[in-house]
């Protein structure tokens, strides 16, 4: 594999030395482009007190191409499907090379705080969310305590 671009090294260092509150990201020992990520559920959201595991992979073309991020922990969220895939514009069309791992993860955290059922990925969840927001949030809370329990 080609040597790691300076930028990735720099970003990784900064994630360790200057971590974002509620978020951790550690590169894998074997593959420095692969990160184990945890995000704490934002306070005031149905995901509060939950600890969500994600994986993040920096493709070869990074930073021209967006990193690939996926939830490993089961989550009930209109923009996240059963496989953990995330619907987030900056990970798709709105990616800019000026964005970084840190900003991506912050965005994901923000997505947890404010789900957007109008641009859904998991259609059933989104429907539920629109029709019965209280119920959906309760379910999300339930899932959080079920699957994303802090140790």
């Amino acid at each position: 594999m080609a040597s790691l671009p300076k930028r990735i090294i720099k970003e990784t260092e900064r994630l360790v030395t200057d971590p974002v509150p509620g978020i951790t990201a550690e590169p894998h020992d074997d593959n420095l482009r692969y990160f184990k990520v945890t995000i704490e559920g934002p306070a005031g959201s149905p995901y509060e007190n939950g600890l969500f595991h994600l994986e993040l992979y920096l493709p070869d073309d990074y930073p021209m191409e967006a990193p690939k991020v996926r939830f490993l922990t089961k989550i009930y969220h209109p923009n996240i499907d059963r496989l953990g895939r995330i619907c987030l514009d900056i990970l798709k069309t709105n990616w800019s090379p000026a964005l970084q791992i840190r900003t991506v993860l912050l965005s994901v955290q923000a997505l947890l705080a404010s789900p957007n059922p109008n641009d859904p990925l998991a259609n059933d969840v989104a429907e539920d969310w629109i029709k019965n927001e209280t119920g959906a949030k309760a379910k999300a809370k339930e899932w959080t305590s079920l699957y994303a329990k802090k140790e």
Binding site: P5, D61, S96, P97, A98
Partner: protein, 1176 residues
């Protein structure tokens, strides 16, 4: 005397007489007479004392005695007359006798029993008086002949004397005819020797009254009425037009009338040789059925063939040189057809006749002398019997085929000779021998540098080639080389004498006669001595592969033998100074600079040689000088009378050519060269041509000038002796004076002509054979005696990096490609593709240029051959500009308007203070902080990025078909609306419009590579090759723009650089400075040869060359001895472009081999194929 002999023998005796007479007898002939029974039976001693007339010298005395003895009754007066008349003839006694008998009334009467020899026909009516007026006699040549040798002749003479008178009346009638024959008779030869016999069935053309007697002598006779010159007899195809049998008649000597004729094939064989004094024929009737012959009856004769001393004695060297020089002239004027003069055709005719005769007689060349000697005794040659011998039939039929086209014969013999050549030379130097060459180590006192093993071996070889055997290790090989036989000659063994005469006489072959004779069937030369190859050539061709250190090897030679010791030790031109007098007959005309080696080099290498010499030489007495022509006012005085002449005088091809041109202009004849003061005024101890292939075209002035340099030892250094065609080698051979090949005639005959006839193998084999003894070539892959490679170079990695054309390049490329394809298609349809060759070449050139950079098009580049063919196609620079404008308005968004640009610049200037040292801008793409100001790029929304990052982003977005937005603010941006910073004169930066299109993909890729290299291993030296020197300009500018000035130094080396600058550029480049990346932009044409750039281990080849070997040459500038690191070469090739196709053609060339290209037609075909390949 003869009465005592048996009748039968008596008759033979007569026969003997007549046969020898018919061949123009020579009493001094050792061979014939010694073999004669008469000689053995009745030896006679000469009574010297009996002479009454001793007033002359001893020779004369001998002559007189002889004469007196032979013709006892001749009076003194007559004898004196004879003496005076024939004194200066080569065969005085014989002539005198002949004359005497011819003119004198006969004294002796005897019944004639045998036929008369026409040569002895008397003019019986001649009186003494008439004889008086004719004859004075004399002799001066007898001293060389043993007295005994005359004996048989004396007997014969008596016999004829007796027989003569009796028949004279009857024969008077035919005398006139015989005299005519006499007139044509061959000049006397001193001896003849049997080479073979055959039995021939002849056909009677005249009825005979009586049966012809067994053993009667016949004579070949060319019917004079229809005598053609051979010239007329052959039409232009070399085929015979006339039946030979009608021309060659058999004449009965006794009755002196025509009796029959030879069969056609024999007639053909002998016809050209009848008049040749070097060949003698004797014909004896063997069988005629003991009845009278009617017309058409056949009878059998034995045809004995002899070679005479004439053939061997001829001063053939002169005639050969003559013919060669005339050939030379012809070849000089016309390279294709060889026009032969009448004389040459005659010569050729005779040569072919000889070859045919040799073939017929089955005289085989001796290939292994020892073996032949062994077999000699067992080997019983037989008389060829045309009737009975089946094997002969086959030979005859083969012969007939051969006769269809005489050239076949020549070719056949050539190829035989070639085999011989090969065997012969291969023993001189095999690769095994090379491995086992002893080493010569120059002592530390003379050479500071250490030589590698193979270089030491090379030194041994070179010293040997110069004849400095004592200095080199002794070896038998040297002796072998000195006694090599000239390869053009063949060795033959004299067959056992089976001729009629000797058989009859039961004469045993003389043991002390030489067993072999030698013939050069190409020139018609014969010799009894083994013709040795002239080994006067001192020097050779050192053709080690590039990078094996030819320079060092040569310097070691020069230092080991800095001056001509044989010259210095000996007095000038003393008697025993054989070497000098022999080899320097021409040189001695010029003053001899015995202490100086002249080295001729291409200009770029002048200083390299100079500094190498200084580096290598540890003897302070030796020094080198550079000769510019003007810096030494009189070279002659400087080198010969100077106190300390330079050991090495280095000059360039240009200077040599210059001086020669000046001499030519002042029309000083060659002899006046001494009066000049330059290089041509003297001869050097040694001349070395570096990169000797410079003279490969012998028509160039440079080549001609080089040929005029004189020196004792001559060396050619070249890694590539053959660039394009086999004939390239000729100039080198010519320069070296490698006899006989330096004669263009030989070269043509053995190499060029077989080559043109597509006998490639033959031609190559000969070249190899010729070259082997004077040619030393080692390659990097060769292994020494221990199986180790000669050179252990670090590995070399060549990577082809495929690139895509930039947008702008692509537009132009497609446009040009369409145009080029159209013209090729048109050319192919019309079949006049090659007429448009130059147009097509220009089109191809354009495409190649676009692959490099669009702005190359239309640039005037004097160093580019193709471009200097200034034809109409060239003025298309403006075309392209127009095209670019068009395509821009079509496809690309508009660039800044002037107002927008000013606005953007204003904003940027407001926002950033570039002249504040603390300014720190971060590139949000690569997170570099701060971005170097010379590498910054601003979007129109005034956000800063690294140039590379932003351009890569633009490219990426384009490929993915995504909108181009500012990575930071997502404002839509355009690639054409970027700004960069430019350093002003006062060192301040100011934003300017950045024109993204000016970067071609190759430049971008190169810049990336250089950047990466500098990041991973700072301070490397890098060589960048291109064949377009204007591309080097573009590269230089682009790299200066892109690379930080602090850590990058760029050097440019091309043909426009002056000699002084070249030197300083190379010197600077070679010095390593930590942290600074040094980039050398090198034009192949200027720096492709000789340069040593081992300090660099990275190279980039910007554009492909047509010839792969040129590219290899370039790469070998860095991959050569002295290189300690792995070499990495990157070749940039534009994908799906003409460059990729060029790579394919390169592959093709590698496999076909360019040397094979010599044939014009073939080349043409190949060119068309190549063009097709390009436009497939």
């Amino acid at each position: 005397m003869t009465d005592s002999e048996p009748t039968e023998r008596k008759r033979f005796f007569k026969d003997e007489l007549e046969s020898s007479e018919s061949q123009i007898p020579n009493p001094t002939s050792k061979l014939d007479n010694r073999n004669s029974f008469l000689f053995e039976d009745e030896p006679k001693t000469t009574d010297l004392g009996s002479s009454l007339f001793v007033e002359q010298e001893t020779e004369d005395l001998n002559f007189e005695n002889k004469l007196k003895e032979l013709i006892p009754d001749v009076d003194t007066r007559t004898r004196n007359l004879l003496l005076e008349k024939f004194e200066h003839e080569s065969d005085p006694v014989g002539k005198a006798l002949e004359y005497y008998f011819d003119h004198k009334n006969s004294l002796i009467k005897e019944v004639k029993t045998v036929k008369e020899n026409p040569n002895f026909i008397d003019l019986s009516d001649d009186s003494y008086g008439s004889m008086d007026s004719h004859s004075r006699s004399g002799s001066s040549h007898l001293n060389s002949d043993p007295p005994n040798s005359h004996e048989p002749y004396s007997k014969m003479s008596f016999q004829s004397l007796f027989s003569q008178n009796r028949e004279r009346a009857r024969k008077r009638k035919v005398n006139t005819i015989n005299r005519r024959i006499l007139k044509r008779s061959k000049p006397a030869f001193s001896w003849k020797r049997f080479i073979g016999s055959m039995q021939v069935t002849a056909m009677a053309t005249r009825p005979t009254i009586r049966p012809l007697k067994y053993g009667s002598e016949l004579k070949l006779h060319v019917s004079t009425s229809s005598k053609f010159s051979p010239y007329q007899m052959y039409n232009s195809n070399g085929k015979k037009q006339v039946s030979m049998a009608q021309l060659v008649k058999l004449r009965d000597l006794e009755q002196d009338r025509e009796v029959g004729r030879m069969p056609e094939e024999i007639a053909r064989l002998v016809y050209p040789l009848i008049d040749e004094s070097g060949v003698a024929f004797e014909i004896t009737l063997v069988y005629s059925g003991d009845k009278r012959l009617s017309i058409g009856d056949s009878f059998i004769v034995q045809l004995d063939c002899f070679l005479t001393s004439d053939l061997f004695g001829k001063n053939l060297k002169d005639s050969q040189e003559e013919s060669l020089s005339s050939q030379k002239i012809q070849w000089d004027t016309s390279n294709n057809s060889i026009v032969e003069t009448k004389v040459e055709i005659l010569d050729k005719f005779k040569r072919m006749g000889l070859i045919a005769l040799f073939n017929k007689l089955r005289i085989k060349e001796v290939k292994d002398e020892a073996e032949t000697l062994e077999n000699l005794n067992n080997d019983d040659p037989e008389i060829l019997d045309l009737e009975d011998d089946d094997t002969f039939e086959s030979i005859v039929s083969q012969r007939d085929e051969d006769n269809e086209d005489d050239d076949d014969k020549i070719e056949h013999s050539d190829s035989m000779n070639l085999n011989q050549l090969q065997n012969f030379y291969s023993m001189a130097q095999s690769s095994e021998a090379l491995k086992n060459l002893p080493e010569t180590t120059p002592s530390r006192d003379i050479m500071k540098l250490d030589l590698r093993k193979y270089q030491k071996q090379g030194l041994t070889w070179m010293l040997r080639r110069e004849g400095e055997f004592k200095k080199a290790a002794e070896s038998d090989e040297v002796v072998a080389a000195a006694t090599m036989m000239n390869p053009l000659w063949k060795q033959f063994v004299w067959p056992k004498d089976m001729s009629w005469v000797s058989e009859r006489d039961h004469a045993s072959q003389e043991k002390d006669m030489s067993l072999f004779f030698y013939a050069n069937l190409h020139t018609g030369e014969f010799s009894n001595e083994k013709p040795m190859l002239e080994t006067s050539l001192k020097g050779g061709i050192l053709s080690d592969e590039m990078g094996l250190g030819k320079t060092i090897s040569t310097l070691s030679l020069i230092l080991s033998s800095p001056c001509d010791s044989s010259f210095d030790q000996k007095e000038l031109f003393t008697e025993d100074d054989t070497v000098l007098t022999q080899n320097f007959s021409e040189i001695t005309q010029k003053p001899y600079a015995s202490r100086t080696t002249l080295i001729v080099v291409p200009m770029s290498l002048l200083h390299q040689w100079h500094s190498q010499f200084e580096k290598a030489c540890s003897n302070d007495d030796l020094h080198s000088e550079i000769y510019y022509g003007g810096n030494v006012s009189n070279l002659k005085t400087h080198l010969i009378n100077g106190k300390k002449p330079p050991t090495v005088l280095i000059t360039t091809y240009g200077i040599v050519q210059n001086e020669w041109t000046k001499i030519l202009k002042t029309s000083v004849s060659e002899l006046d060269l001494q009066s000049t003061t330059g290089l041509f005024s003297l001869s050097f101890y040694r001349i070395v041509l570096d990169e000797g292939h410079m003279i490969r075209n012998r028509q160039t002035i440079t080549s001609k000038a080089i040929m005029q340099l004189t020196g004792k030892c001559k060396w050619v250094l070249t890694g590539t002796p053959i660039i394009n065609r086999l004939d390239d080698m000729y100039s080198l051979v010519k320069f070296l004076n490698l006899e006989p090949w330096s004669q263009i005639g030989f070269w043509k005959q053995f190499i060029s002509i077989p080559f043109e006839n597509k006998n490639f193998k033959q031609a190559f084999d000969v070249v190899n054979s010729i070259m082997e003894p004077v040619f030393l070539r080692r390659t990097k892959h060769m292994k020494d005696a221990n199986g180790k490679p000669l050179v252990d170079l670090p590995p070399k990695e060549v990577i082809v990096e495929k690139l895509k054309l930039s947008e702008k390049q692509d537009i132009v490329y497609k446009h040009l490609l369409n145009r080029a394809e159209d013209s090729v298609k048109l050319g192919l349809e019309r079949g006049d593709l090659l007429k448009k060759y130059s147009t097509i070449l220009v089109n191809i050139l354009r495409l190649r240029q676009v692959c490099c950079d669009v702005s190359l098009i239309g640039s005037q580049d004097e160093n580019d051959e193709d471009l200097s063919n200034n034809n109409a196609m060239l003025s298309n620079g403006s075309d392209v500009a127009a095209l670019l404008k068009d395509s821009k308005s079509d496809n690309v968004e508009e660039t800044f308007s002037e107002i927008e640009l000013q606005e953007a610049i204003k904003i940027i200037n407001e926002r950033y203070d570039f002249n504040n040292d603390d300014i720190s801008l971060e590139c949000s793409i690569c997170t570099t902080e701060p971005i170097p100001l010379d590498k910054i790029l601003f979007t129109e929304c005034e956000h800063p990025f690294c140039k590379e990052c932003l351009l890569e982003y633009c490219e990426y977005q384009k490929i993915k078909n995504l909108d181009l937005k500012c990575p930071l603010c997502r404002h839509e941006i355009s690639k054409n609306k970027l700004l960069t910073l430019q350093k002003k004169e006062n060192g301040e930066y100011e934003p300017v419009h950045y024109n993204s299109d000016s970067r071609s993909s190759k430049i971008v890729a190169l810049a990336n590579h250089l950047q990466q290299l500098q990041d991973s291993s700072p301070g490397e030296q890098v060589v960048v090759f291109s064949q377009f020197s204007s591309y080097l300009d573009i590269l230089e500018k682009a790299l200066r723009d892109i690379s930080p000035a602090k850590t990058t130094k760029i050097y440019k080396f091309d043909g426009r650089l002056s000699l002084k600058d070249r030197n300083s550029v190379l010197k600077e480049f070679q010095e390593k400075s930590p942290g600074i990346q040094k980039i050398l932009l090198l034009s192949l044409k200027a720096g492709g040869v000789g340069l040593n750039l081992t300090c660099a281990s990275y190279a980039f080849v910007m554009d492909p060359w047509w010839s792969p070997s040129m590219e290899d040459q370039a790469i070998d500038r860095i991959h050569r001895i002295g290189q300690e690191n792995n070499v990495k070469v990157t070749r940039f090739i534009i994908e799906n472009s003409i460059e990729e196709k060029m790579l394919r053609i390169q592959e093709r060339k590698r496999t076909i081999g360019e040397a094979m290209d010599a044939d014009e037609d073939e080349r043409r075909k190949r060119r068309i194929e190549e063009i097709k390949m390009l436009f497939e």
